[in-house]
């Protein structure tokens, strides 16, 4: 027989003003099964909690209902108090008579009646509560970091320095990400590679970091503390144990005119290549799409063509027969750091809702380039050795026009957000250009200049005041070829005049977007993403580096446009979350998880289809002779997050969500 105690809180005047708490306590005292019902000024105070503890002991309560504020406020407090008195904490629940009653009603009689009803609901529910024990799950104290740009490298280093092993997965042949392509960085104009390369090497050499380049996450199973990740190690066609990075194969390769991805298409590379000289690891990869030998193989030619790299290699490291390998690793936490790409300006768009900027002639007019291409032109390691030359004829441009917000803040073209970094990097570009071409004109078309950040506004002002960048507020409607110049047609919104000018080169600050394929990776990891594909943080303010899947964290520009300091800060935050998680040997989980009734489950697996976490497993039920009787559903309680969608879906009601069972809910409804 239930022995329920009801504790009605006045919350000072907050509840007492509109709810007659004494009357609520009195009414509740008459409910069947309630053996103790009192009201008190502040239930959450020490004396208040003491009343609960004493009543549990003296009256032998089997359940506690605290009618007070929202359970989101004090459920933990009262459950702890109940536990301290020896009652299972899950036998204690709260009726919300403050936020949901006293604060939103004026009529005292009706508010009191409602408070009684709300408390009755919970009393009836608690009568059917079962004692639950938090689930303990062991933690695999190794982390996976996906993406080895600056965010991923930082997160991996922090976790590894904290004493835990890290698997750092990068889909490109080298780590470094976009930061390795940049020339100099705002607002200090320090050389990007000079600050990045040491970190890349550190990550490579770290005894606790296992680097997997040219690799991608294939699938993920498991849950916080216990993930099993399968990684596809793509075939490099080069044995990374044997290769010593001498580069002889690259020199021997006859296919030399492939546009270099690292140089944003402005430089060339060979078919067997290391993306850039400082690449980590310094091991080449064969581009099988372009390699003569693989091309011939695809056409079905039996004869082994070319093979000059094979002959050039003194260490027999070239392996044309190498295949992709699938490697499974156990990890306890994951950092999602896949970074960004630039909005593609041409007609072809990666996402349907984007419509491109055909009117700017990108791809047709060689001297119209994007921001990353300018980075490569300005970089000392770039295709021009750091000289600003325009792509069409190699001449030094006398006038360079920069367009901001290409793709960003333009809902009609598919992106409504601000890409955040462009104002800064365009200001940087104007400075880099003016430092190299002293007599040149740098003209910037902008919508607004958004330079929030330490030293950022000063930086933009320096571009204008010291380096003579000309800022024109307005949009450019069209670019077209005029002789060997690019005609820029725009509008100066400050003077209200249309404006036309000729430029030698145009640089577009194209929008920041998440990497292609981020949606499918997010789906594999069961983390949510917004309509642009950016990963959703669990809370925009209070959980900025958590995702809504426990144990998976997010860092850098895959979550929103982020500059280097932001990305690094996020990465360190995510790493500290991971290390915090790893400071426990075991995790305690809320035991409100689903449970299958084996006797009635028919094995239709509707539950499996709707489970957002893949928590439903198959259980073979056998008789004593070992004969299979049926295959039914079983919930992996470590994976289950307790949404209860399975329970509502189950036609025979053979699943129960502990803490929210049908019996508990019906009891509440029935008490209406």
């Amino acid at each position: 027989m239930a022995r329920i105690g009801v504790f009605v809180c006045h919350c000072g005047e907050n509840i007492g003003r509109t709810v007659d708490c004494a009357q609520v306590a009195e009414a509740c005292g008459s409910f069947p099964g309630v053996v103790h019902s009192v009201d008190y000024k502040y239930m959450c105070s020490d004396p208040g909690q003491l009343q609960i503890k004493e009543a549990i002991k003296e009256k032998g309560l089997t359940g506690v209902v605290v009618a007070a504020c929202s359970p989101h406020m004090h459920e933990k407090t009262f459950r702890k108090a109940a536990a301290a008195a020896g009652l299972n904490p899950f036998l204690c629940e709260m009726a919300n008579i403050r936020e949901h009653c006293s604060w939103i009603h004026e009529d005292r009689a009706r508010a009191t009646a409602k408070a009684i009803d709300l408390t009755r609901f919970i009393v009836e529910k608690v009568k059917r509560n079962q004692p639950l024990v938090p689930i303990s799950i062991p933690v695999e104290r190794r982390a996976l970091v996906i993406g080895a740009g600056i965010a991923g490298i930082q997160a991996a280093l922090d976790i590894a320095d904290g004493g835990r092993e890290v698997i750092l997965v990068e889909k490109e042949p080298s780590i470094g990400g976009h930061m390795s392509q940049l020339s100099e960085t705002f607002p200090t104009l320090d050389c990007s590679q000079c600050i990045l390369t040491p970190r890349m090497v550190e990550a490579f050499q770290h005894p606790r970091i296992k680097l997997m380049t040219y690799s991608e996450v294939e699938s993920l199973e498991g849950y916080i503390g216990n993930f099993a990740v399968t990684i596809r190690k793509k075939a490099r066609s080069v044995d990374d144990e044997l290769c010593n990075g001498c580069g002889d194969c690259q020199s021997a390769c006859p296919v030399k005119k492939i546009p270099s991805e690292f140089d944003a298409g402005l430089g060339k590379r060979t078919a067997i290549y290391v993306p850039f000289p400082q690449a980590v690891p310094n091991i080449p990869v064969i581009d099988r799409e372009r390699c003569t030998r693989f091309k011939a193989m695809r056409k079905g030619k039996k004869k082994e063509v070319c093979g000059r790299c094979l002959k050039a290699c003194g260490r027999e490291a070239i392996d044309f027969a190498q295949e992709d390998r699938l490697i499974t690793e156990k990890v306890g936490a994951i950092v999602f750091a896949t970074g960004y790409q630039l909005y593609s300006i041409g007609e072809e768009q990666p996402r349907e809702h984007l419509s491109g900027y055909g009117e700017y002639g990108y791809g047709e007019i060689p001297d119209v380039i994007d921001g990353m291409q300018f980075e490569r032109l300005a970089s000392a390691s770039g295709p021009t050795g750091g000289r600003i030359e325009r792509p069409s004829d190699g001449k030094e441009p006398e006038t360079v026009v920069f367009l901001q917000c290409v793709g960003s803040r333009d809902p009609q073209k598919g992106i409504d957000y601000c890409s955040k970094l462009c104002c800064m990097y365009i200001a940087k570009h104007t400075m880099l250009y003016r430092h190299k071409v002293h007599h040149g004109r740098a003209v910037v078309f902008y919508m607004d200049v958004r330079a929030g950040g330490k030293g950022y506004d000063e930086f933009v002002r320096r571009a204008v005041e010291e380096d003579g960048a000309e800022y024109v507020r307005g949009r450019v409607s069209r670019l077209y070829r005029a002789g060997d110049k690019v005609r820029v047609c725009g509008f100066d919104t400050l003077s209200g005049e249309p404006l036309e000018m000729d430029a030698d080169m145009v640089v577009m600050a194209t929008a920041i977007q998440p990497q292609p394929g981020i949606e499918s990776l997010a789906q594999k990891l069961s983390v949510s993403y917004d309509k642009s594909g950016f990963i959703n943080e669990a809370h925009p303010k209070l959980k900025p580096v958590e995702t809504n899947t426990a144990g998976i964290y997010v860092a850098g520009a895959c979550q929103a446009p982020r500059d280097i300091p932001d990305a690094v800060a996020m990465a360190s935050a995510a790493a500290s979350k991971v290390l915090g998680l790893f400071s426990n040997e075991e995790l305690e989980r809320d035991p409100c998880v689903a449970q299958v009734d084996e006797t009635t489950c028919s094995g239709c697996f509707h539950c499996e289809r709707v489970c957002p976490y893949g928590a439903v497993e198959h259980l073979e039920v056998r008789d004593r002779g070992g004969n299979l009787i049926k295959v039914i559903a079983k919930v992996n309680q470590g994976v289950c997050q307790g949404c209860g969608t399975c329970q509502a879906t189950c036609p025979s009601k053979s699943v129960e969500l502990l803490g929210f069972t049908d019996a508990q809910i019906f009891a509440a409804i029935n008490s209406l």
């Binding site: 009635t600 028919s602 239709c604 289809r609 036609p651 025979s652 009601k653 019996a663």
Partner: protein, 290 residues
């Protein structure tokens, strides 16, 4: 149908199956039969009176039939759709059964009707049927007959009910469901009521009041419709089995319309096609949600 007789006899002779479930001539029109010998097979027929959905005998609840061993079953397209659902929901293994599809030109509403198929005697589901040549089969027999006519009565009845005010509709169903005695014939005959323990039989807590009063009847028929939404193949067996004459196919038809209009669902005999309930599209219409 000689082709069917020859095929099934051969299946039995070769030991491919132990029994064949098909149709035979009975005292009141066509009825199902379990043929265990080639001799029995000579009684097998198929015509417009073969209204039964024999997939119901494949349900895992029919354990008495399962002990007889591997079965072959004669299926119309609509019946094959029920088999597909059983497969999709893991109630049946494809290898455990031999499926004999019959090209179908529609069936009557009853097992005893006679004469040419017409809008007046054809089953509701037949008009515009897309499954006249089932694909989920091991064998396909018969020639493709002409397309069946379309019965209009049910659609008209649904439309007429929708015209009424909620109170009038409630009255209509109050009258119809008053006759329900909760004999559970609708559930027993349904090929897709596969639960080991029906929600209506659950007592702790009780979801559906079990005594045959109107309130329990309403709950039961709502639960039945809900659990069959996106699964029902509209074979109409529930209504045929109902001793109280409750127009169950009117409810089924309405649910079918909703599933079609909202989720583009039509019964299919492709076991790999996703079911509409249990899947979702982020852009599903939600005009009813504030």
């Amino acid at each position: 149908m000689q082709e069917l007789v020859d095929l099934t006899s051969k299946l039995l002779q070769n030991g491919d199956v132990n029994v064949v479930i098909g149709y035979e001539e009975g005292p009141r029109g066509v009825r199902p039969v379990v043929a265990a010998t080639p001799d029995d097979c000579r009684r097998l027929i198929f015509d417009h009176r073969a209204v039964h959905n024999l997939a119901t005998y494949l349900s895992p609840r029919r354990k008495h039939l399962r002990v007889r061993g591997r079965a072959a079953v004669v299926l119309k397209g609509c019946d094959a759709a029920a088999v597909a659902t059983l497969l999709r929901e893991r109630q049946l293994k494809r290898d455990d059964v031999v499926l004999i599809g019959v090209r179908c030109g529609g069936v009557y509403r009853t097992t005893t009707a006679e004469g040419a198929l017409s809008a007046d005697n054809v089953a509701d589901r037949c008009g515009g049927c897309a499954l006249r040549e089932p694909t989920l089969v091991d064998h396909l027999v018969g020639d493709l007959p002409p397309e069946p006519p379309t019965a209009g009565q049910r659609a008209a009845r649904i439309a007429a009910l929708e015209e009424l005010s909620p109170a009038e509709r409630f009255d209509y169903w109050r009258r119809s469901l008053a006759d329900c005695v909760r004999c559970n014939a609708c559930r027993a005959v349904c090929p897709l009521c596969v639960c080991e323990r029906c929600v209506a039989d659950k007592t702790d807590p009780q979801w559906i009041e079990s005594s045959p009063h109107l309130r329990g009847n309403f709950s039961w028929h709502m639960a039945r419709a809900l659990h069959l939404a996106g699964r029902c193949v509209d074979c109409g067996e529930c209504q045929r089995a109902c001793p109280a004459g409750i127009p169950l196919t009117v409810i089924n038809g309405k649910v079918g319309q909703v599933m079609g209009a909202r989720f583009g669902f039509r019964p299919t005999d492709d076991p790999d096609a996703p079911a509409p309930i249990g899947t979702f599209d982020p852009d599903d219409s939600q005009e009813f949600i504030r």
